[in-house]
Protein backbone atom coordinates (compact mmCIF):
# COMPACT_ATOMS: atom_id res chain seq x y z
CA UNK A 1 0.00 0.00 0.00
CA UNK A 2 1.47 3.28 -1.07
CA UNK A 3 0.26 6.83 -1.36
CA UNK A 4 0.48 8.40 -4.79
CA UNK A 5 3.54 10.53 -5.26
CA UNK A 6 1.12 13.23 -6.35
CA UNK A 7 0.26 13.62 -2.69
CA UNK A 8 3.74 14.82 -1.88
CA UNK A 9 3.70 17.14 -4.84
CA UNK A 10 0.35 18.61 -3.92
CA UNK A 11 1.39 19.42 -0.37
CA UNK A 12 4.61 21.04 -1.48
CA UNK A 13 2.77 23.08 -4.09
CA UNK A 14 0.19 24.25 -1.59
CA UNK A 15 2.97 25.19 0.78
CA UNK A 16 4.58 27.24 -1.94
CA UNK A 17 1.31 28.93 -2.83
CA UNK A 18 0.86 29.80 0.82
CA UNK A 19 4.00 31.92 0.65
CA UNK A 20 2.83 33.96 -2.28
CA UNK A 21 1.37 37.46 -2.03
CA UNK A 22 -2.43 37.60 -2.11
CA UNK A 23 -3.98 38.00 -5.53
CA UNK A 24 -0.95 36.56 -7.22
CA UNK A 25 -1.50 33.43 -9.30
CA UNK A 26 1.23 30.96 -10.18
CA UNK A 27 0.77 28.93 -13.35
CA UNK A 28 1.44 25.21 -13.41
CA UNK A 29 4.49 25.74 -15.58
CA UNK A 30 6.12 27.75 -12.79
CA UNK A 31 5.09 25.30 -10.10
CA UNK A 32 6.55 22.44 -12.11
CA UNK A 33 9.70 24.41 -12.70
CA UNK A 34 10.18 25.23 -9.05
CA UNK A 35 10.19 21.55 -8.03
CA UNK A 36 11.46 20.17 -11.32
CA UNK A 37 8.38 18.04 -11.88
CA UNK A 38 6.69 16.88 -15.09
CA UNK A 39 4.36 19.75 -15.87
CA UNK A 40 1.51 17.85 -17.47
CA UNK A 41 1.34 15.19 -14.83
CA UNK A 42 1.50 17.71 -12.03
CA UNK A 43 -1.46 19.43 -13.65
CA UNK A 44 -3.52 16.37 -12.94
CA UNK A 45 -3.16 16.83 -9.20
CA UNK A 46 -3.59 20.58 -9.32
CA UNK A 47 -6.90 19.93 -11.00
CA UNK A 48 -7.86 17.66 -8.12
CA UNK A 49 -7.02 20.43 -5.68
CA UNK A 50 -9.13 22.79 -7.72
CA UNK A 51 -12.05 20.39 -7.82
CA UNK A 52 -11.80 20.00 -4.06
CA UNK A 53 -12.01 23.76 -3.66
CA UNK A 54 -8.60 24.14 -2.04
CA UNK A 55 -7.13 26.26 -4.80
CA UNK A 56 -8.77 28.58 -7.26
CA UNK A 57 -7.69 28.99 -10.82
CA UNK A 58 -7.67 31.81 -13.32
CA UNK A 59 -7.08 31.50 -17.02
CA UNK A 60 -5.32 33.52 -19.59
CA UNK A 61 -2.16 35.60 -19.26
CA UNK A 62 -1.36 36.29 -15.62
CA UNK A 63 -3.54 33.40 -14.62
CA UNK A 64 -2.60 30.32 -12.59
CA UNK A 65 -3.24 28.78 -9.21
CA UNK A 66 -3.67 30.35 -5.82
CA UNK A 67 -5.06 29.20 -2.52
CA UNK A 68 -8.81 29.42 -2.24
CA UNK A 69 -8.68 29.93 1.54
CA UNK A 70 -6.18 31.29 4.05
CA UNK A 71 -3.44 28.74 4.75
CA UNK A 72 -4.56 28.55 8.35
CA UNK A 73 -7.91 27.19 7.27
CA UNK A 74 -6.52 24.34 5.18
CA UNK A 75 -5.21 21.20 6.80
CA UNK A 76 -3.07 18.43 5.42
CA UNK A 77 -5.84 15.88 5.46
CA UNK A 78 -7.86 17.94 3.03
CA UNK A 79 -4.99 18.00 0.58
CA UNK A 80 -4.32 14.30 0.90
CA UNK A 81 -7.97 13.44 0.42
CA UNK A 82 -8.24 15.72 -2.57
CA UNK A 83 -5.53 13.71 -4.28
CA UNK A 84 -6.16 10.23 -2.93
CA UNK A 85 -9.91 10.31 -2.75
CA UNK A 86 -11.72 9.79 0.52
CA UNK A 87 -12.26 6.05 0.35
CA UNK A 88 -11.19 4.00 3.35
CA UNK A 89 -7.95 2.05 3.30
CA UNK A 90 -9.77 -0.96 4.61
CA UNK A 91 -12.96 -2.00 2.94
CA UNK A 92 -14.75 -4.75 4.79
CA UNK A 93 -16.25 -7.29 2.42
CA UNK A 94 -18.10 -9.10 5.20
CA UNK A 95 -16.58 -12.48 4.57
CA UNK A 96 -17.78 -13.48 8.01
CA UNK A 97 -21.21 -13.87 6.41
CA UNK A 98 -19.94 -16.23 3.75
CA UNK A 99 -19.18 -19.91 3.81
CA UNK A 100 -20.80 -22.73 5.74
CA UNK A 101 -21.20 -20.79 8.99
CA UNK A 102 -22.78 -17.67 7.55
CA UNK A 103 -26.31 -16.70 8.52
CA UNK A 104 -28.82 -14.18 7.23
CA UNK A 105 -27.65 -10.59 6.90
CA UNK A 106 -30.16 -9.27 9.39
CA UNK A 107 -28.35 -11.02 12.24
CA UNK A 108 -25.25 -8.86 11.85
CA UNK A 109 -25.96 -5.73 13.79
CA UNK A 110 -22.67 -3.87 13.68
CA UNK A 111 -19.34 -3.97 11.84
CA UNK A 112 -17.11 -6.81 12.89
CA UNK A 113 -14.24 -6.32 15.32
CA UNK A 114 -11.72 -6.43 12.55
CA UNK A 115 -13.39 -3.65 10.60
CA UNK A 116 -13.74 -1.56 13.75
CA UNK A 117 -10.08 -2.01 14.57
CA UNK A 118 -8.95 -1.08 11.10
CA UNK A 119 -11.24 1.92 10.97
CA UNK A 120 -10.11 3.14 14.35
CA UNK A 121 -6.52 3.03 13.17
CA UNK A 122 -7.47 4.89 10.06
CA UNK A 123 -9.28 7.52 12.11
CA UNK A 124 -6.10 8.04 14.12
CA UNK A 125 -4.18 8.59 10.91
CA UNK A 126 -6.72 11.11 9.69
CA UNK A 127 -6.77 12.91 13.00
CA UNK A 128 -3.02 13.44 12.91
CA UNK A 129 -3.20 14.91 9.45
CA UNK A 130 -6.22 17.05 10.20
CA UNK A 131 -4.39 18.55 13.17
CA UNK A 132 -1.72 20.11 11.00
CA UNK A 133 -2.59 23.21 9.02
CA UNK A 134 -0.99 24.31 5.84
CA UNK A 135 0.23 27.30 7.77
CA UNK A 136 2.28 25.07 10.04
CA UNK A 137 3.65 23.14 7.07
CA UNK A 138 4.67 26.34 5.41
CA UNK A 139 6.25 27.63 8.58
CA UNK A 140 8.21 24.45 9.17
CA UNK A 141 9.46 24.67 5.62
CA UNK A 142 10.67 28.20 6.14
CA UNK A 143 12.44 27.37 9.40
CA UNK A 144 14.20 24.31 8.13
CA UNK A 145 15.37 25.56 4.78
CA UNK A 146 19.05 26.37 4.46
CA UNK A 147 19.64 30.10 4.23
CA UNK A 148 21.00 29.73 0.74
CA UNK A 149 17.80 28.05 -0.42
CA UNK A 150 15.65 30.85 0.92
CA UNK A 151 17.71 33.40 -0.99
CA UNK A 152 17.54 31.40 -4.18
CA UNK A 153 13.79 31.02 -3.76
CA UNK A 154 13.33 34.74 -3.34
CA UNK A 155 15.42 35.57 -6.36
CA UNK A 156 13.53 32.98 -8.39
CA UNK A 157 10.32 34.56 -7.31
CA UNK A 158 11.54 37.99 -8.37
CA UNK A 159 12.15 36.65 -11.84
CA UNK A 160 8.71 35.17 -12.33
CA UNK A 161 6.67 37.95 -10.77
Amino acid sequence: MKLSEGTEWAIHCCSLLANLPPDFALPKSRLAEFFDLPEDYLAKFLQELSRAGLVKTSRGPGGGYQLAKPAGQINVLEIVQAVEGDQHFFQCTEIRRCGPSGVADKHYKKPCGIARTMHRAEAAWRAELAAVSLNEISQMGAEESPQEQIEKSLSWFESVM
Copy 2:
Protein backbone atom coordinates in the same frame (compact mmCIF):
# COMPACT_ATOMS: atom_id res chain seq x y z
CA MET B 1 -4.90 4.22 -1.70
CA LYS B 2 -6.37 0.91 -0.69
CA LEU B 3 -5.24 -2.05 1.35
CA SER B 4 -5.18 -5.38 -0.44
CA GLU B 5 -8.25 -7.46 0.24
CA GLY B 6 -5.82 -10.18 1.24
CA THR B 7 -5.32 -8.21 4.45
CA GLU B 8 -8.88 -8.79 5.49
CA TRP B 9 -8.64 -12.45 4.58
CA ALA B 10 -5.43 -12.91 6.52
CA ILE B 11 -6.81 -11.43 9.71
CA HIS B 12 -9.97 -13.50 9.53
CA CYS B 13 -7.94 -16.64 8.89
CA CYS B 14 -5.64 -15.94 11.82
CA SER B 15 -8.65 -15.34 14.00
CA LEU B 16 -10.06 -18.67 12.96
CA LEU B 17 -6.77 -20.44 13.59
CA ALA B 18 -6.70 -18.88 17.03
CA ASN B 19 -9.86 -20.77 17.90
CA LEU B 20 -8.47 -24.14 16.95
CA PRO B 21 -7.11 -26.69 19.42
CA PRO B 22 -3.34 -26.68 19.79
CA ASP B 23 -1.50 -29.07 17.49
CA PHE B 24 -4.32 -29.07 15.01
CA ALA B 25 -3.49 -27.85 11.51
CA LEU B 26 -6.06 -26.54 9.07
CA PRO B 27 -5.24 -26.84 5.36
CA LYS B 28 -5.81 -23.96 2.99
CA SER B 29 -8.66 -25.82 1.33
CA ARG B 30 -10.61 -25.76 4.60
CA LEU B 31 -9.75 -22.17 5.31
CA ALA B 32 -10.95 -21.17 1.85
CA GLU B 33 -14.08 -23.20 2.31
CA PHE B 34 -14.93 -21.62 5.64
CA PHE B 35 -14.92 -18.10 4.19
CA ASP B 36 -15.84 -19.06 0.64
CA LEU B 37 -12.66 -17.62 -0.82
CA PRO B 38 -10.66 -18.61 -3.90
CA GLU B 39 -8.33 -21.25 -2.55
CA ASP B 40 -5.29 -20.63 -4.72
CA TYR B 41 -5.32 -16.92 -4.25
CA LEU B 42 -5.79 -17.19 -0.52
CA ALA B 43 -2.74 -19.44 -0.48
CA LYS B 44 -0.68 -16.49 -1.59
CA PHE B 45 -1.40 -14.60 1.61
CA LEU B 46 -1.05 -17.63 3.83
CA GLN B 47 2.41 -18.01 2.40
CA GLU B 48 3.15 -14.42 3.37
CA LEU B 49 2.03 -15.16 6.90
CA SER B 50 4.26 -18.20 6.93
CA ARG B 51 7.21 -16.26 5.65
CA ALA B 52 6.65 -13.66 8.36
CA GLY B 53 6.72 -16.37 10.98
CA LEU B 54 3.16 -15.82 12.17
CA VAL B 55 1.90 -19.24 11.17
CA LYS B 56 3.71 -22.52 10.81
CA THR B 57 2.97 -25.05 8.15
CA SER B 58 3.10 -28.81 7.89
CA ARG B 59 2.85 -30.82 4.72
CA GLY B 60 1.26 -34.08 3.77
CA PRO B 61 -1.97 -35.61 5.02
CA GLY B 62 -3.09 -33.98 8.25
CA GLY B 63 -0.94 -30.98 7.45
CA GLY B 64 -1.99 -27.37 7.10
CA TYR B 65 -1.62 -24.04 8.88
CA GLN B 66 -1.55 -23.21 12.55
CA LEU B 67 -0.45 -20.22 14.57
CA ALA B 68 3.24 -20.12 15.26
CA LYS B 69 2.76 -18.22 18.52
CA PRO B 70 0.00 -17.86 21.11
CA ALA B 71 -2.73 -15.51 19.88
CA GLY B 72 -1.95 -13.12 22.69
CA GLN B 73 1.53 -12.59 21.32
CA ILE B 74 0.40 -11.67 17.82
CA ASN B 75 -0.96 -8.24 17.05
CA VAL B 76 -2.90 -6.97 14.08
CA LEU B 77 -0.07 -4.82 12.80
CA GLU B 78 2.12 -7.87 12.33
CA ILE B 79 -0.51 -9.51 10.18
CA VAL B 80 -1.11 -6.40 8.11
CA GLN B 81 2.58 -5.88 7.55
CA ALA B 82 3.07 -9.51 6.60
CA VAL B 83 0.59 -9.06 3.77
CA GLU B 84 1.20 -5.46 2.77
CA GLY B 85 4.90 -5.29 3.32
CA ASP B 86 6.43 -2.85 5.75
CA GLN B 87 7.10 0.03 3.42
CA HIS B 88 5.81 3.45 4.44
CA PHE B 89 2.65 4.87 2.89
CA PHE B 90 4.44 8.10 2.26
CA GLN B 91 7.81 7.99 0.63
CA CYS B 92 9.51 11.35 0.57
CA THR B 93 11.29 11.96 -2.71
CA GLU B 94 12.93 15.14 -1.45
CA ILE B 95 11.60 17.39 -4.16
CA ARG B 96 12.53 20.32 -1.94
CA ARG B 97 16.10 19.74 -3.10
CA CYS B 98 15.16 19.93 -6.77
CA GLY B 99 14.54 22.85 -9.05
CA PRO B 100 16.07 26.32 -9.09
CA SER B 101 16.09 26.78 -5.31
CA GLY B 102 17.69 23.46 -4.39
CA VAL B 103 21.08 23.42 -2.71
CA ALA B 104 23.62 20.72 -1.97
CA ASP B 105 22.38 17.64 -0.13
CA LYS B 106 24.61 18.19 2.86
CA HIS B 107 22.59 21.25 3.86
CA TYR B 108 19.46 19.20 4.58
CA LYS B 109 19.91 17.96 8.11
CA LYS B 110 16.55 16.30 8.84
CA PRO B 111 13.41 15.17 7.02
CA CYS B 112 11.17 18.00 5.90
CA GLY B 113 8.09 19.01 7.85
CA ILE B 114 5.82 17.33 5.35
CA ALA B 115 7.57 14.00 5.67
CA ARG B 116 7.57 14.28 9.45
CA THR B 117 3.87 15.03 9.49
CA MET B 118 3.03 12.13 7.22
CA HIS B 119 5.22 9.76 9.16
CA ARG B 120 3.74 10.82 12.46
CA ALA B 121 0.27 10.07 11.13
CA GLU B 122 1.44 6.72 9.91
CA ALA B 123 2.96 5.96 13.28
CA ALA B 124 -0.40 6.68 14.90
CA TRP B 125 -2.03 4.22 12.53
CA ARG B 126 0.54 1.57 13.32
CA ALA B 127 0.23 2.15 17.03
CA GLU B 128 -3.52 1.56 16.94
CA LEU B 129 -3.05 -1.72 15.12
CA ALA B 130 -0.18 -2.84 17.29
CA ALA B 131 -2.31 -2.28 20.37
CA VAL B 132 -4.82 -4.93 19.37
CA SER B 133 -3.82 -8.55 19.80
CA LEU B 134 -5.16 -11.43 17.80
CA ASN B 135 -6.66 -12.66 21.03
CA GLU B 136 -8.83 -9.58 21.27
CA ILE B 137 -9.86 -9.90 17.63
CA SER B 138 -10.82 -13.49 18.18
CA GLN B 139 -12.72 -12.64 21.33
CA MET B 140 -14.65 -9.83 19.67
CA GLY B 141 -15.57 -12.21 16.89
CA ALA B 142 -16.92 -14.71 19.37
CA GLU B 143 -18.96 -12.13 21.26
CA GLU B 144 -20.50 -10.54 18.20
CA SER B 145 -21.38 -13.61 16.24
CA PRO B 146 -25.05 -14.57 16.15
CA GLN B 147 -25.71 -17.68 18.21
CA GLU B 148 -26.73 -19.56 15.10
CA GLN B 149 -23.41 -18.83 13.47
CA ILE B 150 -21.46 -20.15 16.41
CA GLU B 151 -23.38 -23.40 16.30
CA LYS B 152 -22.86 -23.77 12.59
CA SER B 153 -19.18 -23.08 13.01
CA LEU B 154 -18.85 -25.73 15.66
CA SER B 155 -20.68 -28.33 13.61
CA TRP B 156 -18.54 -27.44 10.60
CA PHE B 157 -15.48 -27.90 12.70
CA GLU B 158 -16.68 -31.32 13.88
CA SER B 159 -16.95 -32.42 10.27
CA VAL B 160 -13.44 -31.41 9.29
CA MET B 161 -11.62 -32.57 12.38
